[in-house]
Amino acid sequence: MTRYVMVADLRRCVGCQTCTAACKEGNGTPPGVQWRRVLDLETGTYPNVNRVFVPVGCQHCANPPCMEVCPSTATGQRADGIVTIDYELCIGCSYCAMACPYDARSMVDHAEYAFGEQPTAVEATRIGRERIGVATKCTFCAGRIDAGTARGLIPGQDPEATPLCVNSCISGALAFGDIEDKDGPIATLLAENQWFRMHESEGTEPGFYYVWDKGTL
């Protein structure tokens, strides 16, 4: 059974926001909506301070609370673990946004474009009416994965079958792939490094891993 996950190596991320831009360009999200974000966090007090960049977005949980609360069954989950939204079923109640511990869902009530009243050529091809008044979020670029695997490509290894944010990452901080592939790069990366998942106490079993040190605990 395939289970796609993403890994963010916090040691490598430099906070350049290239993944954010790639996601935005590729998915045509309106102003103010970012499916992939990189948080710039400072902790501690002077002189003992730390700074860390944390890529965030939909964690494609194994037990997604958004799917549990969704009254219309618009939120679903594929066999490969990707959490989806059916724009034709969603009523735009935003309950999923309230249930998501990762603040990963967005909704816009009317079409907005980056430069004025009219969409740019790129926006015109990517922004559809179906995404107005409904919940939206990161899809792990499911369309690219499906198109790629249909051609025999491997998500996470072949760029054409890999999420845009991972492809664009300049420091190799983002990785993607099937965690069930025991000899694959994701399983190896997680086996050789220490990692955590966010808000695990909520029982969501996120499909997003944060690597923070080498070696195992």
Binding site: D9, L10, T20, V69, P71, S72, L89, W212
Partner: protein, 290 residues
């Protein structure tokens, strides 16, 4: 673009959503007390009709808020796990049953409506409890708070539109005390939650203090009214009736204020929490807790 904010006030549910919890809470509480009146042979139809109106008004406000209102019927698709679906399903039975009870003055129908109203209120409480992204709503004590507040609001309104006899004052006082206990329990739970500091700060603002004062004054007014009625051997005389009205109105209005704040102001998203900082630099480093 640097993004340093990890917890922010939720922007999706505004006063329209709060209106559902206000109308639904007061309405369902009023339906429950009206059914109690029906059992006791007291006039109940006006109170029951108003209660149903509150529930319907709240749901109408939600309808105005959703992004795709013409797909509203899709809300009934997920009864297996969604409390919002369950709320809707209970409502579509509650309204016609309640209307029948109002039109026919049928006591069993009124009782059935009360049962459904209690279920509706429970669903509303669980809707908030299931919001794992908002620590202030995720509190375990939120369920009791919403239930007790709805009953306090409904029994308070009943003192105005129904009657101020001893038993209704006792119910209103009981509900007000229950709500007071639920509120204190909720606040204690919130204070023990690491990510709820900003929500707690909202409940220390002037509007929150005003709602809280109204709640306490209302409770006192109902208690004094009850004392006067008991002293007069069950006859609502002198200041008892106006005090009961004031107490009832304050019980309801303080609940509305609290819910408006809870939904629109105190709903902060869960902040990002890093259990450790990444190790960087030559030779690695030591893991440091955040």
């Amino acid at each position: 673009m640097s993004q340093t904010v990890t917890s922010r006030r939720q922007r999706h549910w505004d006063l329209r959503a709060a209106g559902n919890f206000i109308g639904g809470g007061t309405g369902s509480g009023l339906v429950v007390v009206a059914a109690a009146a029906a059992v006791n042979g007291a006039p109940f139809r006006v109170a029951l009709a108003l209660g149903l109106g509150g529930v319907a008004a709240g749901l109408s406000l939600v309808w105005l808020e959703i992004g795709r209102p013409w797909r509203a019927c899709n809300v009934f698709f997920h009864a297996r796990t969604s409390w919002m679906t369950r709320e809707g399903m209970v409502a579509i039975v509650l309204i016609p049953v309640g209307v029948i009870a109002v039109l026919t003055a049928n006591v069993p129908a009124a009782l059935f409506a009360a049962l459904l109203a209690a279920g509706f209120l429970f669903c509303q409480a669980r809707i908030l409890r299931a919001a794992r992204g908002i620590p202030a709503w995720r509190q375990e004590q939120i369920v009791t708070l919403i239930l007790a507040t709805g009953l306090a609001e409904g029994s308070g309104i009943f003192l105005i539109v129904g009657a101020s006899a001893t038993r209704w004052l006792v119910i209103a006082l009981f509900a007000a005390l229950l709500r007071e206990a639920a509120w204190l329990s909720y606040r204690a739970g919130l204070a023990a939650t690491p990510q709820a500091a900003r929500s707690l700060a909202v409940f220390a603002t002037a509007p929150a203090r005003l709602a809280r004062a109204a709640q306490l004054v209302g409770l006192a007014a109902i208690a004094v009214a009850l004392g006067i009625v008991v002293a007069a051997h069950g006859v609502p005389s002198g200041m008892a009736v106006p005090l009961a009205w004031i107490g009832g109105a304050l019980a309801a209005m303080s609940g509305w204020g609290m819910k408006a704040l809870l939904i629109t102001r105190a709903g902060f998203t869960r902040a990002v929490i890093l259990p450790v900082m990444p190790t960087r630099g030559k030779g690695g480093g030591h893991a440091r807790p955040v």
